[in-house]
């Protein structure tokens, strides 16, 4: 085999591997999507059928049984709301840790990350009681607070590592040019970090959107986001695969479309941030 052939084979094998992994990861989503167009009977038939007459019944029933717009709105408010609040807290925090590190900065960062190591269920009871006592059960406020706290460590870490890579001299130049710390952040750091901040925000939104544990435990109907709506279709007494799939498809769709839509901006943002 010539060197050229070897190289071609290598490229082919790498490609094959990548496609296999991608397809395996994508398959459940694809299956969910087509199942949502089947009847309940087709959905559980063995062997499963790939060719069938698609029906929109499931979507109609889901919309009848639960108010999709209501849950979707809850998801939007909680995920976007908590992401915005988390960014407002995380940007100054990451800025000060990246540009004015103290002796304990590393410890603080580790401590923040360590809060993510505690299983959520470990604090379920105290948080539930707190929410109950403050009248926050089944409220979007409770979810926004919890989502904010839940993602804050990750957001601070991501922004911190990006800020740390910004050349310090650019900020010093701004300082010499008469910039106050506020000017420095707003006129130099933020414009240079558009890409990093948007990808961090997108990650946070996705994490909130897909969050189920707290949504299920702290909401009933008023504040229930889409994840809670999906869960209401996984009933122990009956098999509603098709409806469950339809609900899941409806729940996924907005965030998938949003992410896809943001992709271009994200790539632009990330390359825009190139400093050199």
């Amino acid at each position: 085999m010539t060197l050229n052939q070897q190289r071609k084979l290598k490229t082919f094998l790498t490609g094959l591997f990548a496609w296999t992994v991608a397809l395996v990861l994508f398959f459940p989503i694809f299956w969910m999507f087509i199942t949502s167009f089947k009847t309940e009977l087709q959905a559980i038939s063995v062997p499963p059928s790939l060719f069938f007459e698609p029906t929109l019944d499931n979507f109609r029933i889901v919309q009848e049984r639960s108010d999709y717009i209501h849950h979707a709105w809850n998801s939007v408010v909680t995920s976007f709301g908590s992401t915005i609040i988390a960014l407002i807290i995380a940007i100054p925090a990451a800025y000060s840790m990246a540009f004015f590190p103290g002796k304990k900065t590393k410890d603080i960062l580790l401590w923040m990350l360590s809060t993510k190591m505690l299983p959520a269920v470990g604090v379920l009871v105290p948080i539930y009681i707190l929410c109950r006592d403050y009248g926050l059960l089944d409220s979007k406020t409770a979810l926004v607070i919890i989502f904010t706290l839940m993602n804050l460590p990750i957001i601070v870490w991501m922004l911190f590592s990006y800020f740390k890579d910004l050349p310090k001299e650019i900020l010093e130049a701004a300082r010499m040019d008469g910039a106050t710390p506020w000017d420095e952040v707003v006129k130099v750091v933020l414009p240079l970090s558009v890409g990093a901040i948007s990808s961090t925000a997108l990650l946070s939104i996705v994490l909130c959107w897909n969050e189920a544990f707290w949504s299920l435990n702290l909401t009933a109907s008023d504040a229930a986001p889409l994840t809670a709506m999906i869960a209401s279709y996984s009933s122990p007494e009956g098999l509603f695969w098709a409806k469950l799939s339809a609900a899941s498809t409806l729940a996924c769709a907005p965030i998938v479309i949003f992410g896809w839509f943001c992709q271009k901006q994200l790539v632009q943002g990330l390359t825009f941030g190139a400093v050199k």
Partner: protein, 364 residues
């Protein structure tokens, strides 16, 4: 009168004493260069003046005002960084006007100032470009323009030319000298390149291990160094240093035994007590090669021809190698035995603790 006065300035890092009591007075309009080997504290001193590092003792006064504790943004100093530190997300025009916009200068005035600065630095055609679309030299000019446009009290330069290639560096050096002449603003310039220091400075401050070793005009430092450190640091090729242990004091001269031959050093050029031994310092251009009968002799190891001149590396009988400047077209051969005459009037003597113990005679 002193415009920028630095008194007993100290800077401690965790377990490192970077500035050890700096005292320096700079007059208005002066071009002062801080020079020294890496780690000598020259950049730290500049950054402390800028307010980018806080001092741990001492004071800095600018134009009669104590600025030691003042934020960088309020000191009215402009700085040019080694990496240029342009704002990557702004066009050249926005880079130039950033400080003015922060200071809430009127739009008309900003436009006027940006136009005049960009004209004087040949940046007109580049105003709408982003820094990444510029070459190194252009970025450097934008960085300088950004400093000039504000008309600050003092310009601070932190090794501004070290990222440029050699030809461009010489050109920019010249532009900076012109700029200083034109603006007449006080400039403080940090470099490790002694050629930049010698060519640009009104006064050079030589730093070593966090302390000022010597302050003086370039020529003073060259002709009358205080210490062996300064003598070796200034001048290319380096000053030759030869140790001499046998000294005999005569009526009006001192006989110094250099490798078996005496050179006579006039006593009236000595200062302080006479030590047991001395180190004789002599620059390459103050020695001449002769066929025979010179003060010392040796064998040519290597000749470097620079076109306008040549440098002969000569191995002495003590195995030490010294450098002697020779005429450009001298036909010196490697391995050739030569004799060297020393111009005693240019000899500098150092004691065992490397301090100078001779003075240069007054110019005739």
């Amino acid at each position: 009168m002193s415009y920028l006065a630095i008194t007993e300035l100290q800077k401690h890092y965790d377990n490192y004493h970077a500035l050890r009591g700096i005292n320096l007075s700079i007059t208005e309009g002066e071009f002062v260069v801080f020079v020294g080997p890496s780690g000598c504290g020259k950049s730290t001193l500049l950054r402390t003046i800028a307010g980018l590092e806080s001092s741990t003792g001492g004071t800095i006064e600018l134009d009669g005002r104590d600025i030691t504790e003042l934020a960088s943004s309020k000191r009215d100093l402009a700085m040019v960084f080694q990496s240029y530190a342009l704002y990557p997300h702004m066009t050249v025009a926005d880079n130039l006007s950033f400080a003015l916009r922060l200071a809430k200068v009127s739009d008309a005035e900003i436009q006027e100032k940006v136009r005049s600065v960009s004209a004087s630095l040949q940046l007109d055609a580049l105003l709408e470009r982003k820094p990444k679309e510029l070459s190194g030299g252009q970025r450097q000019r934008v960085a300088i323009g950004r400093a000039i446009v504000r008309q600050p009290k003092v310009f601070l330069f932190d090794e501004p030319l070290s990222n440029l290639d050699a030809a461009l560096r010489v050109q920019m050096r010249l532009e900076l000298a012109r700029l200083h002449k034109k603006l007449g603003t006080t400039m403080i310039y940090v470099t490790h390149d002694q050629v930049e220091a010698m060519t640009l400075a009104d006064r050079v401050v030589i730093l070593n291990a966090g302390q000022i070793e010597q302050v003086g005009t370039p020529l003073e430092l060259y002709r009358q160094p205080n210490s062996r450190f300064v003598a070796e640091f200034i001048g290319t090729p380096k000053m030759n240093l030869i140790a001499a242990n046998k000294l005999v004091r005569h009526e009006d001269s001192l006989a110094i035994d250099l490798l078996g031959q005496n050179i006579m050093f006039p006593v009236n050029r000595l200062k302080g007590p006479l030590p047991e031994s001395v180190i004789v310092g002599i620059r390459p251009e103050h020695m001449t090669l002769v066929d025979q009968g010179g003060d010392i002799s040796g064998r040519i190891e290597l000749v470097e021809h620079l076109g306008s001149e040549a440098y002969a590396h000569i191995q002495l009988s003590s195995d030490q190698t010294i450098i002697v400047k020779a005429p450009a077209r001298s036909e010196l051969k490697d391995g050739q035995e030569v004799s060297i005459n020393i111009d005693v009037s240019e000899v500098i003597l150092f004691n065992e603790s490397d301090r100078v113990i001779s003075v240069i005679p007054e110019e005739a």
